[in-house]
């Protein structure tokens, strides 16, 4: 198992390096001079030169790359151009809110999807199945930047049940979590249905039925447990989509997380902070995928020998 873990970790390192390199190159894609772009047209040449020195843009590209990687290893992502704070600190302050939202969304998604997927599989080919799967397709097609405002109109504006934006109580978390979790719920419902149908064809389910178990008991006690393995994997793999989704959801609901920080950084042309946020989100995504792979390896030992 340790060999498998080490191998997976080693395979991840080049990907992380590639991601870091691409993110490093981003700032050099800025048309013209990034320093001028950040300071605007009214800035003097002296101010621009000063910022270029501060960002290290006056150094040769390779030297910049080397110091970028060195900083990265030390956990130093540079300094925010807007307020002079270390980028790592800016991200750290918002980390909790982003993870709180992401996990709440995943919880909501599972709460909706798993019963829906089971119902669709149990009543396969019936109106319940068609209804559940159409609902899932609608969920996938409904962009969160529309669902969010719609939920806000209904539950905050018309019914007044929930706050429209901000943080402070559990009620503030409900609308953002449902908005973010809806698409995942749709994917999970389809996956649960497909996975459960696959298990229902297995002989052990037939054997359980032959022993006198009712169909519902055979499903709940035997097939459902095994059908969860691919569902758990999908939950892990979809974490990236949820993380990206936080960018829009946090913007809609003024949720003070890393996603909103990224959009604010883009609007202020705070490129070091943009770089930091992009790096943080993609690194988290890669590590989450690694964790999912390893968990899958633990759940199903055959995977380790692939």
């Amino acid at each position: 198992m340790i060999r498998y873990l080490v191998r997976r970790l080693l395979l991840t390192l080049p990907v992380l390096l590639g991601v870091a390199t691409l993110v490093f190159l981003l700032i050099h894609l800025v048309p013209g001079d990034p320093a001028r772009s950040m300071l605007g047209d009214t800035a003097s040449q002296e101010e621009i030169d000063q910022l270029r020195r501060a960002l290290g843009l006056d150094q040769p590209l390779l030297v910049q790359y080397q110091s970028f990687l060195t900083g990265l290893v030390r956990g130093d992502l540079g300094t925010s151009f807007r307020n002079g704070n270390p980028v790592t600190l800016e991200i750290r302050d918002r980390l909790f809110r982003t993870f709180q939202l992401a996990f709440a969304a995943m919880f909501v998604a599972m709460l909706i999807a798993i019963p829906l997927g089971i119902l669709a599989a149990v009543f396969r080919g019936t109106a319940i199945d068609h209804g559940a799967m159409t609902l899932a397709l609608v969920g996938i097609s409904m962009p969160n930047f529309w669902l969010g405002p719609l939920l806000a109109i209904l539950f905050a504006v018309y019914l007044g049940w929930l706050p429209v934006a901000g943080t402070g109580s559990l009620a503030h978390l409900v609308l953002p979590a449902v908005t973010l979790g809806a698409a995942l719920a749709a994917i999970l419902a389809r996956m649960t249905r497909a996975s459960l149908l696959e298990e229902l064809r297995e002989l052990y389910v037939l054997a359980a039925r032959a022993r006198g178990l009712s169909r519902i008991r055979a499903i709940v006690r035997h097939a459902f447990r095994n059908s969860l393995i691919p569902v758990v994997t999908i939950i892990g793999l979809q974490f990236g989509a949820v993380l990206t989704g936080t960018i829009i959801t946090e913007t809609i609901f003024a949720w003070p997380g890393v996603g909103r920080l990224l959009i604010q950084a883009i609007n202020f042309r705070d490129y070091p902070l943009v770089q930091g946020c992009i790096l943080f989100i993609s690194f988290t995504y890669v590590m989450m995928n690694l964790l999912t792979d390893v968990t899958y390896g633990l759940l199903d030992p055959r995977i380790r020998y692939d």
């Binding site: 992380l16 691409l22 981003l26 048309p31 996938i140 930047f145 405002p149 109109i153 989509a241 992009i278």
Partner: protein
């Protein structure tokens, strides 16, 4: 479902082509005195925050959405097919390099890389298409690579090679056609993805810039008027969801036909 999907897509295409003929209003003309007015007989979907007809703007936005979808799918599929077939057919170093680039691009979740690219290149329609194509080709490349890996060992490909056909000819005439049904499915679903991504970027202020009508920018404008004019939010979102749903219906239907095992 595929028929319902096709119907929605055809309606959207007609709206994009003949939009200006379907409404007497110009999408840019303003009636400030009637701003935020709700749906009425003269303006079936109401007026926006500058008193512009929402139906006229939605129809103009259909053109942008379909244009972005088609442009992204065309660019990504051509690049993806080229890269994927080269990686799968030649193998070795070529495969290693292309696969590593794919790995790195796949390490960015969703549209994060597109957001990053548009953030540095500047918000515009061209940059949105470029950014979405940069992330879009990877899906096609993975698909075609897998097909090419299998196809290069097949008898008819070996026979073509033995007859002296060049690599380019083998890829174009023998390998790509085997992957074509899956590519069409990927393109249909990819178009839905590109339309949502464009609207998302425009919603975040990183895509199409006002006053050009885009469904995403219309939704963004509606955000400030959730209390007093919810119709600004409801109609553009409905348009996006319907078109994407239509494309997903078509994509799902085609996938079931290409791979009947999935339909079970």
């Amino acid at each position: 479902m595929i028929r319902v999907g096709l119907l929605i897509v055809v309606i959207a295409a007609v709206a994009a082509l003949f939009g200006p003929l379907l409404t007497p209003y110009d999408p840019a003309s303003q009636e400030l005195a009637r701003r935020l007015e709700g749906p009425s007989l003269s303006h079936p979907l109401g007026l926006d925050e500058l008193g512009r007809d929402i139906l006229a703007r939605l129809l103009a936005g259909t053109r942008i959405s379909l244009l972005v979808g088609l442009a992204v799918v065309s660019m990504s599929s051509v690049v993806g097919m080229l890269m994927g077939s080269m990686a799968g057919y030649f193998g070795g170093r070529v495969d290693d390099v292309i696969s590593r680039v794919i790995d790195v691009l796949m390490a960015f979740p969703g549209i994060l890389l597109a957001i990053a690219l548009v953030a540095v290149l500047g918000p515009s329609l061209t940059n949105v298409v470029l950014a979405l194509s940069v992330i879009g080709w990877v899906g096609y490349a993975r698909l075609v690579r897998g097909q090419a890996l299998r196809a290069r060992e097949l008898d008819f490909v070996q026979a073509a090679r033995a007859l002296g056909a060049g690599s380019g000819r083998i890829i174009l005439k023998h390998i790509l056609p085997t992957a074509m049904p899956s590519i069409v499915v990927q393109a249909t679903l990819g178009m839905a993805g590109a339309i949502i991504a464009e609207a998302a970027l425009s919603f975040l202020g990183l895509g199409v810039q006002p006053p050009t009508p885009s469904w995403g920018t219309m939704l963004d404008a509606g955000r400030s008027h959730l209390f007093d004019a919810p119709h600004l939010t409801i109609f553009p979102g409905l348009a996006i969801a319907l078109l994407v749903l239509g494309l997903n219906f078509v994509g799902d239907g085609l996938r079931d036909r290409v791979d009947p095992k999935l339909a079970k």
